[in-house]
C-alpha cells in the first residue's frame, strides 16, 4: 500500500514567512558591518565614448575618501557561465578596456566613510571623454562598418536552424500569414533595487561578498576570475532578496567587482547600493526584439511551415544574449509540431543599457509573435483557436527536435480543457461583442517552457542532508530563494523522502562557503534540478538510517517503516525505535561508532522537461479611449506535480500580473541613449486596483524524471499573458496589435486604420 504523503503536495507554510512579516528578515541593504565604507559610481553621460583620462586628484583631497576603482583597472564580466567551461572561453569573460557603451556605464567608483562624502567625491572627479558615434538601434548597428561597439563587431551572435524544407512547406500551404512583431524593453522592477552588495577583502586574503544574487556559486566563479583569486578564497553569501526575475542571474554590471576592488585596496568592508534610478538606467532589462514571422497552414488547420527572423537588441553588454535567442528557438519549435521550420536569430549590440535574463528569457517575445500568428490562422480558417492548437501541439511521446529528447509528460490538453471549462470559453467566444463603446472579448494562448538548462548550459545541483542526534534534520543547499519559496519546496522534498516531518527540517543559509556547487535559481529549475539533488541526498541518508534501524530492531530494511519520528517493523509496530534515540545512540552514546547520518548528492538533472500552460483572458476595451480593462485571467499550468500547491498558485497569480505589465504598460523608453522613464512615476507598473480576477488552475502530468513528478512553473506563467490578451483584444475589437506594450494610443491608432479601410 503506498503511504500517503507527509509533505509533498501540501500547502505548507513557507519557512521564511514569519521573518518577513515581522521585519526581521535581513536584505543586503539591512546589513551593516563594522568600519564599513560606502561606495558610489560615477557613470558615463555618453552612450558611446572612449575614456581618455580620469582625474581624481581633487576628490582624493577630500577628508573621508578612501579609495578609487576605475574602468582602466577593474574588469567587467561580459559573458555568462557557459564560458566557464574552458580556460580559453573564460578569458573572454572579463573585459578591461577604456570604452563606455551606454549612458550609465560605470567609469569610476569611490569609497568613502559615508554616503555624503562619496557623493561629494564624485562631483570632484574629472573625466575626459572622446565621444564616439552611438548606435541606437540594432539595424543601424548591423549596417555600421566602421564603429564597433565590441572589438569583434556589432553582431554579438547569430543562429540559423532549419528543420524540414521551408520552401516545400510554403508551397503546400493553403494560407500564409506574414507579420512583423516588436516587443518592448521590459524592466524587472524588483522591489529591492538591483545593486546592493557588501564586499570585504580580509587580511587573510579572503573575499566575502554579501549579494542578492540568484547564482551564488557562479558569482563566486565570476568574482574569482575577475579578481584572479582561487575559488576557495571567495565566499558569496546571499541574504534575503527582494525579487530577482532573472536580473540577478549573475553579477550586477559594475557592482560586486567594483566593490570588491575597493575593499581589496582598503581592507575594509565596502557597501554599494544603487538607487532606483540607477536600477532603471544601468542594470539589465528584457531584450527588445523585432520578430518577422511567416506561418503556413493547410485549409484543414495543419501548421506546416514557420519562418522566423529575429533581431534582438542586446544593448551595450551581453551576458545572456545567446541563451535568450536559443530559448526563442526551443520554445517556438518545441510547442508545435510544424514539420518545416526555419529560424534565424541575430543578437546585436547597441549603445543602450544591457539586455539580460528576465522571467521567460526569450519566450515571452517569441510566444507573443507565434501565438498571434496561430490565432490569425484560426480566424482566417474560421476554426476555434482552441481546436487549432489541440490539433497541432507536440504531444506526449513525440521527440522535441531542438532538445533531442522525448516528451515524457505533457498536460497541455488538460490545461486547455480545464481552462476552457472554468472560463466559459465556448459560450463567451460565441457571444457577440457588446454594443456601445465598451467591447468585450475572450482570447487564449498556450506556451511551453523548459525546466532547467538541460544540455544547453552547465546545470549542476547538489545537496547534503544531515540527521542530528535529536532526530532533527539540516538540509544544506545553495538554492537561492528570491521569494518564490523554493527553499520551502526543497524542505518538503527532504521531509517526504526521509519520512521525517517537515517541521523537523531546517534549511541552511545560502552561502558558498558551506554549501556544495549548485547552478543557482534560473530557468524554473529549483523544484526540479534542486529537488532531484535533495531527493538523492535524502535517499542516501534514509538508507543509512534504515540500515542502523535494521541492525537495532533485528529485521531487514524492507520490513521497516518510518513514521511520526520513529522506525518500526511493518508487521509488528511494537518493534519500534525513536529516530532521536537511534541517532543519539550511534552519534554520541556508542563511542565505537560516533557517526552522523549524512546523505549527499551532486550532479546534474537527466533532462530538461517542458512544462505547459494555457491562459484564457477576458478583456473589455473602450474603443473611445483605447483603454483595456482586463476582467479575468484563467491560467492553467501543467507543473508535473505541485510539491506545494499554495506556492505554485502564488507563482501563477504573480506571473499573470507581471505578464499583464509586459502586455499593456511596461517599456523603458530610450531616446538617443537616454532612458526617459527611469522611475516608478513614469515606468508604469500595475497596482492593486489594476489587477483582475485571476483563476489559477494546477494540472499535474507527473514528469517521470522529476522529484515526485515535479517540473517548473516560475517563468512560464507570465510567458503567454501578452499573447492571450492580444488575442482577446482582437476578439473584442477586431484590432490585431503587433507591438508591445499594447497601449491605448496603439489601439486607437489601429481602430482608426480599420475605419479608413
Amino acid at each position: 500500500m503506498p503511504e500517503s504523503p507527509i509533505a509533498v503536495g501540501k500547502a505548507l507554510q513557507r519557512i521564511d514567512s514569519v521573518d518577513k512579516v515581522t521585519g526581521s528578515a535581513k536584505y543586503a541593504a539591512d546589513i551593516k558591518q563594522e568600519n564599513m565604507l560606502h561606495a558610489k559610481l560615477l557613470r558615463s553621460p555618453h552612450a558611446h565614448a572612449k575614456v581618455k583620462r580620469i582625474d581624481t586628484s581633487a576628490a582624493e583631497k577630500l577628508a573621508g575618501v578612501r579609495a578609487f576603482a576605475t574602468i582602466f583597472d577593474v574588469p567587467k564580466v561580459i559573458e555568462y557561465w557557459f564560458s566557464l567551461r574552458t580556460e580559453e572561453k573564460k578569458k573572454q569573460m572579463f573585459l578591461r578596456d577604456n570604452l563606455v557603451r551606454f549612458i550609465g556605464d560605470p567609469v569610476v567608483a569611490v569609497a568613502a566613510d559615508d554616503q555624503a562624502t562619496a557623493d561629494k567625491a564624485l562631483s570632484l572627479i574629472k573625466v575626459e571623454y572622446e565621444p564616439l558615434k552611438a548606435l541606437h538601434d540594432p539595424y543601424t548597428a548591423m549596417a555600421e562598418k566602421n564603429i564597433k561597439i565590441h572589438s569583434r563587431g556589432n553582431v554579438a551572435f547569430k543562429a540559423n536552424k532549419v528543420y524540414g524544407d521551408i520552401h516545400e512547406g510554403f508551397k503546400n500551404a493553403d494560407i500564409i500569414i506574414d507579420n512583423t512583431y516588436r516587443t518592448s524593453k521590459q524592466k524587472h522592477a524588483a522591489l529591492e533595487p538591483f545593486g546592493t552588495c557588501i564586499a570585504h577583502y580580509q587580511s587573510n586574503g579572503k573575499l566575502t561578498v554579501h549579494s542578492s544574487t540568484q547564482l551564488p556559486h557562479w558569482s563566486r566563479h565570476y568574482l574569482a576570475g575577475a579578481l584572479e583569486l582561487p575559488l576557495n578564497k571567495v565566499r558569496v553569501i546571499k541574504p534575503h532578496t527582494g525579487g530577482s526575475f532573472g536580473g540577478r542571474c549573475g553579477l550586477i554590471h559594475g557592482l560586486e567587482v567594483m566593490c570588491s576592488w575597493l575593499s581589496r585596496q582598503t581592507g575594509r568592508p565596502v557597501r554599494m547600493s544603487f538607487t532606483r534610478d540607477e536600477d532603471f538606467m544601468a542594470t539589465e532589462s528584457r531584450h527588445p526584439m523585432n520578430i518577422k514571422m511567416k506561418t503556413g497552414a493547410t485549409r484543414d488547420g495543419i501548421l506546416i511551415a514557420n519562418e522566423v527572423e529575429i533581431v534582438s537588441d542586446v544593448g551595450g553588454y551581453g551576458t545572456h544574449y545567446i541563451g535568450v535567442i536559443a530559448d526563442c528557438l526551443s520554445t517556438g519549435v518545441g510547442l508545435y509540431k510544424i514539420p518545416n521550420y526555419s529560424f534565424t536569430g541575430t543578437a546585436v549590440f547597441t549603445n543602450k543599457s544591457p539586455g539580460g535574463a528576465l522571467r521567460g528569457y526569450g519566450n515571452p517575445q517569441m510566444n507573443f509573435a507565434q501565438e498571434s500568428q496561430i490565432d490569425i490562422i484560426a480566424e482566417k480558417l474560421r476554426m476555434d483557436p482552441l481546436d487549432l492548437r489541440l490539433k497541432n501541439y507536440r504531444k506526449l511521446g513525440e521527440i522535441d527536435p531542438v532538445l533531442d529528447q522525448e516528451i515524457l509528460s505533457n498536460g497541455l490538453q488538460e490545461c486547455l480543457e480545464k481552462g476552457a471549462a472554468s472560463s466559459g470559453w465556448k459560450q463567451k467566444r460565441r457571444q457577440l461583442p457588446i454594443k456601445g463603446a465598451k467591447k468585450r472579448g475572450i482570447g487564449l494562448s498556450i506556451m511551453l517552457h523548459g525546466t532547467g538548462a538541460g544540455k544547453a548550459l552547465p546545470d549542476p545541483a547538489a545537496a547534503t542532508v544531515m540527521i542530528n542526534a535529536d532526530g532533527s534534520v539540516n538540509l544544506v543547499t545553495a538554492a537561492a530563494d528570491e521569494g518564490q519559496g523554493n527553499r520551502t519546496v526543497l524542505a518538503q522534498i527532504a521531509s517526504e523522502t526521509l519520512g521525517i516531518d517537515f517541521d523537523k527540517i531546517s534549511v541552511s543559509e545560502t552561502d558558498t562557503e558551506t554549501t556544495p556547487l549548485d547552478c543557482g535559481t534560473h530557468g524554473s529549475r529549483q523544484a526540479y534540478g534542486g529537488g532531484l539533488a535533495v531527493r538523492a541526498a535524502a535517499t542516501e541518508a534514509r538508507e543509512k538510517l534504515l540500515a542502523y534501524a535494521s541492525n537495532k530492531l533485528g529485521v531487514n530494511e524492507d520490513q521497516l517503516r518510518i513514521k511520526d519520528g520513529a522506525i518500526f517493523e511493518t508487521t509488528n509496530s511494537e518493534n519500534i525505535i525513536l529516530i532521536s534515540d537511534l541517532m543519539r545512540q550511534i552519534q554520541i552514546e556508542d563511542m565505537s561508532v560516533c557517526e552522523q547520518v549524512i546523505g549527499s548528492a551532486t550532479g546534474v538533472a537527466p533532462a530538461m522537461p517542458g512544462y505547459y500552460g494555457a491562459i484564457f483572458a477576458e478583456v473589455e476595451v473602450d474603443i473611445e479611449t483605447g483603454e483595456v480593462k482586463v476582467l479575468k485571467l484563467t491560467s492553467a499550468f501543467d507543473v508535473g506535480r505541485a510539491i506545494n500547491p499554495d506556492l505554485v498558485e502564488g507563482q501563477i497569480t504573480g506571473g499573470a500580473v507581471m505578464g499583464m505589465g509586459f502586455a499593456l504598460t511596461e517599456d523603458l523608453l530610450v531616446q538617443d541613449g537616454h532612458i526617459l522613464n527611469s522611475s516608478f512615476t513614469d515606468y508604469r507598473l500595475l497596482r492593486t486596483c489594476d489587477a483582475p480576477e485571476i483563476v489559477p488552475i494546477i494540472v499535474e502530468s507527473n514528469e517521470p524524471t522529476g522529484p515526485y513528478g515535479a517540473k517548473g512553473i516560475g517563468e512560464g506563467c507570465m510567458v503567454n499573458v501578452a499573447s492571450a490578451l492580444s488575442n482577446a483584444i482582437w476578439h473584442a475589437t477586431g484590432v490585431r496589435l503587433a507591438d508591445l506594450p499594447m497601449t491605448p494610443e496603439s489601439i486607437l491608432l489601429e481602430l482608426a486604420k480599420d475605419e479608413m479601410t
Binding site: R14, V21, G23, L191, T241, R276, S679, A691
Partner: protein, 161 residues
C-alpha cells in the same frame, strides 16, 4: 551642517535624537535606530515599501523629514506585534500566503494597519484602492488583499468578543 534635536516615540519608546535637517524619517529609523523593517524601494514615494504609521496615519517614510516627525508617535513593522502573538495582520499575511520576496510586505502591512484603524467598514474594493500605494512585483496582489480582508474581520471579531 547644523543638527536638529528631535524627540520621537517609536514603537512605544521615546528617543531623543540629533539629526541633519535633510535626514528623512526612513534614514533615522534604519540607520540610527536599526529598525530596518521599512525598506527603501524608490526613495520618491512611489512604491510604498517604506510605509510606517505616524500619529496613526500611513506615511511614506522616504518623503517625511525626520525633523517633521518631531514630537510624533511612530509605529513600524517591528512594533506591530503586542505580546507573544503576532498581530492579526501579520498572521493573516502568513496564513493567506500573501508573501513572496517580502520586500514590500512591511510597508503593505503598515499601510493596511492604518486603514483598518481608521475605517470601520472595509470592502475588497476599498482595500484595493488603498493598497494601490504599495507596489508588489511578486504576488499579483490578490493574496495581500485577501489577507487584509481577513485581518480586518479577525480584528472586528476580537473587538466584538
Amino acid at each position: 551642517m547644523k543638527k536638529v534635536d528631535i524627540r520621537i516615540n517609536v514603537n512605544g519608546d521615546w528617543y531623543e535624537l540629533s539629526v541633519s535637517p535633510g535626514d528623512r524619517l526612513i534614514d533615522v529609523l534604519r540607520d540610527q535606530l536599526d529598525l530596518t523593517g521599512a525598506k527603501e524601494g524608490c526613495g520618491e514615494g512611489e512604491c510604498g515599501s517604506c510605509t510606517v504609521n505616524l500619529n496613526g496615519q500611513a506615511v511614506l517614510s522616504c518623503l517625511v523629514l525626520a525633523a517633521q516627525a518631531d514630537g510624533g508617535t511612530i509605529l513600524t513593522i517591528e512594533g506591530l506585534q503586542k505580546g507573544p502573538e503576532p498581530h492579526p495582520l501579520q498572521k493573516a499575511f502568513v496564513s493567506e500566503s500573501a508573501i513572496q520576496c517580502g520586500y514590500c510586505t512591511p510597508g503593505m502591512i503598515m499601510a493596511a494597519n492604518a486603514l483598518i484603524n481608521n475605517k470601520t467598514e472595509l470592502t475588497e474594493n476599498s482595500i484595493r484602492k488603498h493598497l494601490s500605494n504599495s507596489l508588489c512585483r511578486c504576488t499579483g496582489y490578490d493574496r495581500p488583499v485577501k489577507a487584509v480582508l481577513k485581518a480586518a474581520k479577525d480584528l472586528k471579531e476580537d473587538i466584538n468578543a
